[in-house]
Amino acid sequence: MNHKSWHLSRRTVLKSAGVSLALPWLECMAADKKAAPKKRFFAGYFAYGVPMPEDDAADRMDHGWFPLGEGKGYQAPAMHASIMPLREKVTFLSGLSHPAMRGTSAHKGADYFLTGANILKTYDKQSISIDQYLAKSLSKDTRFKSLVMSSFGGVNRPYRSSTLSFDRSGRPIPAQNNPAEIFRRMFGEVTDSEKNALASRGSIIDEVLNEAKDLNRRLGKTDKAKMDEFLTSVREVERMTERSVQWQSTPKPKVDSSKLELDADPTSPREYLTVMYELLALALQTDTTRVATFQTACEEAGLTDRFPSAVGLANSSHKLSHEKKNYADVAAYITFLNEMHAGFIKRLDSVQEEDGTLLDNTLCFYGCATSKTHRAINYPIILSGGKNMGFQHGAHLHYGENVPLSNLFVTIGNQLGGRTAKFADSTADITEVLA
């Protein structure tokens, strides 16, 4: 029980340039891995679609999301002003969607945004998400295989996922939502206790795995199916431990946390999204991981539904998305989300690497699985960066309703991962985004 409820005063928001890094480490890493160019992938998701005034409406350019006109000569609506300085590194995509899920009611988008799975047909059985597909090859040389984040955290439940990432068996990977914990895992000082722990962890996990296999032998069929999940996870930790041991002699990158607002939570959306995006940038910049996903909000009632309070709006983001006429409020809110995303993209572009900027070495895929009020078609998508992986930008590309989004995943797979002939329900690839 609180006797006095003083709110903790929020410290000044992080400067856009980000926090300082101890560079010597980075240089030594660069020298180390000179041969292999780094390829990185980020996928972001926002909830509940975008405002879509008619093309001839007076507020089309003030409140609309989709660009007007196709190709290089497109006009960007006002809400994208924040990312326009990077026009040549950004592509807008319209028309794409996951065909199998077009007919469904909304709110499920995060479940299949990156998997393309037909979860209606399979009830809630999922398949691998594109980020995890890429992580297999991209993150061989990094401390973490991937960084999975969402503002809700965990996995929530099927049809209201709070994670974008699904493993090879289609199991949801819990997302982290606590900035302080994310920071500790990636950059926290390694204590003596942790050093000791790492020395014994291999043997401990080995024993846990063997014992679990023993238990598994004495289980019936239904139990075995569930137990399989435990075994897979322990094996995964086994691999993580091996990875940590390899990394043991390399000190963690030194990141100064004093400028990060690590105690921010979703009740203060601007501060929270700022620190979460900054953690993503730091993870990629320090080469802690090369694959990251961030679901900025869950399509379910909860704290993240109050994000519009960041721009002084009392309505929930869900309620805003149902607006069909006066788009000013929802546009103001989406503008805010766009600014947060653009800040991240600019942040990546501000970091110089040997062969270009961090953005040139990171393909960023950002969007939502609904467009106008809960319609699961014509996903609003921004693709940026990845120049060094063959991507070319500067245009608005429009596709017909029959083109699966998975076709883009095939292209992404081919450019970043290994040879990818097919992903989920793909029918071809999408070459227009390539140089």
Partner: protein, 864 residues
């Protein structure tokens, strides 16, 4: 027994559904398709590339489930057949096909997730994991805070095996948490840490000693504390600070009154909100300057400590007596630990809150762990503090300052780094006395075996201990010490599938087949019982009964259930079951619209606590489940009484209060948790409230809305924009495709119209408790159920449930408790058991305890 299983299993197999199964497709669905659809989507034409006569009607094994879903959706929202088609189905035909397809889908989903009516191995939930470590290590810390947030199954239960995933991230955290807890206990320093000790004699604040006074006025003046807040008193008396270079502790007091004999201080129980006069007046933070509590100033008694050992047990001793107030009002002792984070910024948490009745001075002792409190400042240089209150609140009781009960505090002692014995009892429990203590390999084995037995909640085999001693030997060469090696070995025990998972394996190796149903052994039963009623591991009594193979006997089981309910740990059941059954999390998903209400976010906690305490009261007092529908009492504290506008409620924590009819409270449905959680945060929401009643109390969830239909029609054009929510509901129900479903839902929500979005009573044409602009309402709680039954108001609805819906309600409660107790969805094969339990419960006056007892004695609970 085998026989009855055989029968129910057979019944289950026969019931496996599909569109195609038996007559449903041929008799109900195909005729509709042939009549209205196949001319465009059949052999001759395939509009939209769709041919319905060739769709595979098997929803489970077939490959067309998604197409069927689309067919259902389009028929449901009347988009198909198209308006221009000559053959149009009648409304009843359309409804019939929609119902038939919806049912098929629901059954297919159930078949898909079916476990054959058997319990499946499951992970401990985060809260179970926390409680289990607490009981296993005898150390009450917040272990589970960093685990990923957990979802819940469709019915709301978090302990359902199907939603309890174990990811690599989980394993990573399980290892980290276990190691840190074990290191804390086992690797504690050899030397007992030096305590930090403060003793406060509060009269020191009133020096100089008062000269003899004569007039009443002088007496009054003399009893005021001399100094204002912000200034401290260096503790001159008894204290011990380990590091002499650190600033000593400070004692601060404000608005306390010197006790008449001068030996202590009187703290009046009064809160900023407790103004005399209008009991429902708005909160006021600070009153006048009188400093006697009359004005609503909180008396302050605080000890500030610098660089205190914050991550250790704290002993608090207080000598005090009660000065009772008018009408048998007694003071409440409350204290909290906190720290300053900035100039006027602090963080704190209450550590104790008890009523004091003794008018003779007595010593009260408390031990809490500093790690569970924000006891360490995150700003260097800011002090930690201890603060003591009289938590009696005037509430809505009209007591004047003189009539308020007071605490007479003689002295207070605070001892941080408090250990009764060293090494700690927790460490001694792991490293127990043994004749082999000096024989390391033998002793290690003993230590490991004893710990494993409790962690695995059953006896462990030699082979199981062998594996762990082998691990110990392997690690011993690389670890720094014997104790450090034990930490690592026991960490492996706490990451084991035998600890983290509730499993009921067979005695021998099983091939990849379904196993035969069997009775649980006594240890498995002990775990089911304790996770059901305590959300934690079994205690020594249960283990002992299991070891004697007594537990499964009905009379023993019943006695244990009663003992466990009487144990304070049964709050684990009330808290977790109530939260999940009633969806109390809904309170926190919703924000109160400041345009409608002045509302403090933290008061949401009151809503949640009321419902938990209510369920707990029904359990503890062995009341009937009809109490959930209506009761002549409410669980209230002064703040909630104020929210509900119920006068005469003072005191402290939640207590049972008899409530007269005029306040319109009784049962779960009049509680703010449900009424607010199913509002919009501004206005009432009859649909949500209706769905809640159907889902939670009657276990009759309505079909989900079809896709692309918004919650309510969007106001389009001027006419609709100004409609109230209820009027828009009516509009909504005008839409043909919506009408039939809503006729089933809305009447269950309309009778709640007398309760505003915050669950406060209102009637007539104005709601004075919302802001002026929104006060005009037109309240009409009368409605008609789909079966024609007329309902005037909520009282009427309660009566209807308790008479005509009584058996459905009873079955619903039994099914909810049973799903929670088993940690899985109930299935068709559980029906005989549910029916039998309901029959017994009905005969036993519908007692809630009987529900629990009968579930424990039922076949599904006793078998694997």
């Amino acid at each position: 027994m085998t026989n009855s299983f055989g029968t129910s299993l057979l019944a289950f197999l026969v019931s496996i559904p599909a569109v195609a199964s038996a007559g449903n497709y041929e008799t109900e669905i195909r005729p509709f398709l042939t009549k209205y659809c196949v001319s465009c989507h059949g052999p001759n034409k395939q509009k939209a590339d769709l041919r319905l006569d060739k769709l595979d009607p098997d929803l489970i094994n077939g490959s067309d489930a998604d197409m069927w879903q689309e067919v259902l959706d389009l028929i449901n929202i009347s988009e198909m057949p198209p308006k221009e088609a000559s053959a149009q189905p009648k409304r009843s035909e359309r409804q019939f096909i929609v119902d038939a397809l919806t049912l098929s889908f629901r059954q297919a989903m159930e078949a898909r997730r079916s476990t054959g009516g058997r319990n499946v191995i499951r992970r401990l939930t985060a809260y179970e994991y926390n409680n289990t470590l607490r009981d296993l290590l005898s150390l009450d810390l917040q272990y589970a805070v960093d685990l990923p947030p957990e979802g819940s199954a469709k019915e709301g239960f978090k302990n359902n095996s199907s939603v309890l995933g174990t990811s690599a991230l989980h394993i990573e955290y399980f290892e980290r948490i276990a190691r840190s807890a074990l290191e804390r206990i086992i690797l504690a320093p050899t030397e007992q840490p030096t305590p930090y000790f403060v003793r406060v004699e509060p009269e020191l604040a009133f020096k100089p000693e008062p000269a003899p006074v004569t007039t009443e006025n002088q007496k009054k003046k003399q009893r005021k504390p001399k100094r204002r807040p912000g200034s401290g008193y260096d503790i001159k008396g008894d204290h011990f600070v380990p590091d002499k270079s650190v600033r000593g502790p400070l004692f601060r007091i404000d608005h306390g009154e010197r006790s008449t004999d001068g030996s202590g201080v009187l703290l009046a129980g009064n809160r900023p909100s407790d103004k005399v006069g209008d009991p429902f007046a708005a909160d006021r933070k600070i009153g006048g300057s009188q400093g006697d509590g009359r004005s609503g100033y909180q008396p302050e008694f605080r000890v500030e400590m610098y660089e205190v050992p914050h991550d250790a047990p704290v002993l608090v001793r207080v000598q005090l007596s009660a000065v009772p107030g008018k009408d048998d009002a007694y003071p409440r002792l409350s204290f909290e630990l906190g720290s300053f984070r900035g100039a006027n910024v602090s963080d704190q948490k209450e550590a104790a809150n008890i009523e004091i009745r003794s008018t003779e001075p007595k010593v009260y002792e408390f031990v809490v762990h500093g790690a569970n409190f924000p006891f360490q400042s995150n700003k260097p240089g800011r002090p930690s503090y201890f603060r003591i209150f009289n938590d009696y609140r005037r509430g809505t009781s009209h007591l004047t300052y003189e009539e308020l009960p007071k605490l007479n505090i003689d002295w207070v002692e605070i001892k941080c780094n408090h250990y009764d014995a060293w090494p700690s009892p927790q460490k001694k429990a792991i490293f127990f006395d043994s004749e082999h203590r000096n024989d390391e390999p033998v002793y290690a084995r003993e230590v490991i075996a004893r710990f494993m037995t409790r962690a695995y909640r059953r006896p462990v085999s030699d082979a199981e201990v062998d594996r762990k001693t082998a691990l110990f030997r392997k690690l011993r060469t690389q670890e720094a010490s014997f104790e450090a090696t034990i930490v690592s070995t026991l960490t492996a025990v706490l990451c084991s599938s035998n600890f983290l998972l509730l499993s009921e394996p067979e005695a021998t190796v099983v091939q990849d087949v379904a196993t035969e149903r069997r009775l649980l052994n006594d240890y498995e039963l002990a775990s089911r019982l304790s996770y059901f009623l305590w959300s934690s591991m079994p205690d020594e009594t249960l283990f002992e009964l299991a070891s004697k193979e007594q537990l499964h006997k009905s009379n023993v089981l019943l006695a244990q259930v009663r003992r466990m309910i009487a144990d304070p740990k049964s709050e684990g059941f009330s808290r977790n079951f109530a939260s999940q059954w009633l969806d109390l999390a809904g309170i926190h998903r919703l924000a109160v619209n400041p345009e409608y209400f002045d509302f403090k976010e933290k008061d949401k906690g009151l809503f949640e606590e009321e419902s938990i305490q209510f369920v707990h009261q029904v359990l503890k007092s062995n009341l009937g489940i009809d109490t959930f529908i209506d009761s002549e009492f409410a669980m209230l504290n002064p703040a909630l009484a104020k929210h509900y506008r119920i006068p005469g409620i003072g005191g402290g924590s939640f207590q049972q209060h008899a409530i007269s009819k005029e306040y319109h409270r009784g049962g779960l449905m009049t509680q703010a948790s449900m009424l607010f959680g199913n509002s919009t945060g501004s206005e009432t929401h009859p649909i949500k409230r209706g769905v809640w009643v159907l889902e939670r109390l009657l276990d009759d969830p309505p079909a989900p809305p079809p896709p692309n239909v918004p919650d309510l029609p969007e106001p389009e054009g001027k006419d609709l924009a100004n409609l109230s929510l209820k009027e828009r509901l009516v509009e909504h129900a005008q839409v043909e495709s919506c009408r039939d479903c809503h006729a089933k839902i809305d009447p269950w929500g309309v009778p709640f119209e007398n309760y505003n979005a915050l669950g406060q009573w209102r009637e007539g044409s104005s709601d004075p408790l919302v802001h002026k602009a929104h006060q005009a309402v037109n309240i009409d709680p009368s409605t008609q159920l789909k079966n024609g039954k007329r309902i005037q108001n909520l009282d009427d609805l309660k009566k209807y449930i308790l008479t005509e819906k009584k058996s459905q309600f009873r079955t619903a409660v039994v099914r909810k408790v049973m799903a929670y107790g088993l940690g899985r969805y109930l299935e068709f094969s559980d029906r005989p058991a549910v029916d039998a339990i309901c029959e017994t419960v009905g005969k036993e006056n519908d007692s809630f305890q009987t529900v629990i007892e009968q579930i424990v004695l039922s076949e599904p609970f006793l078998t694997k």
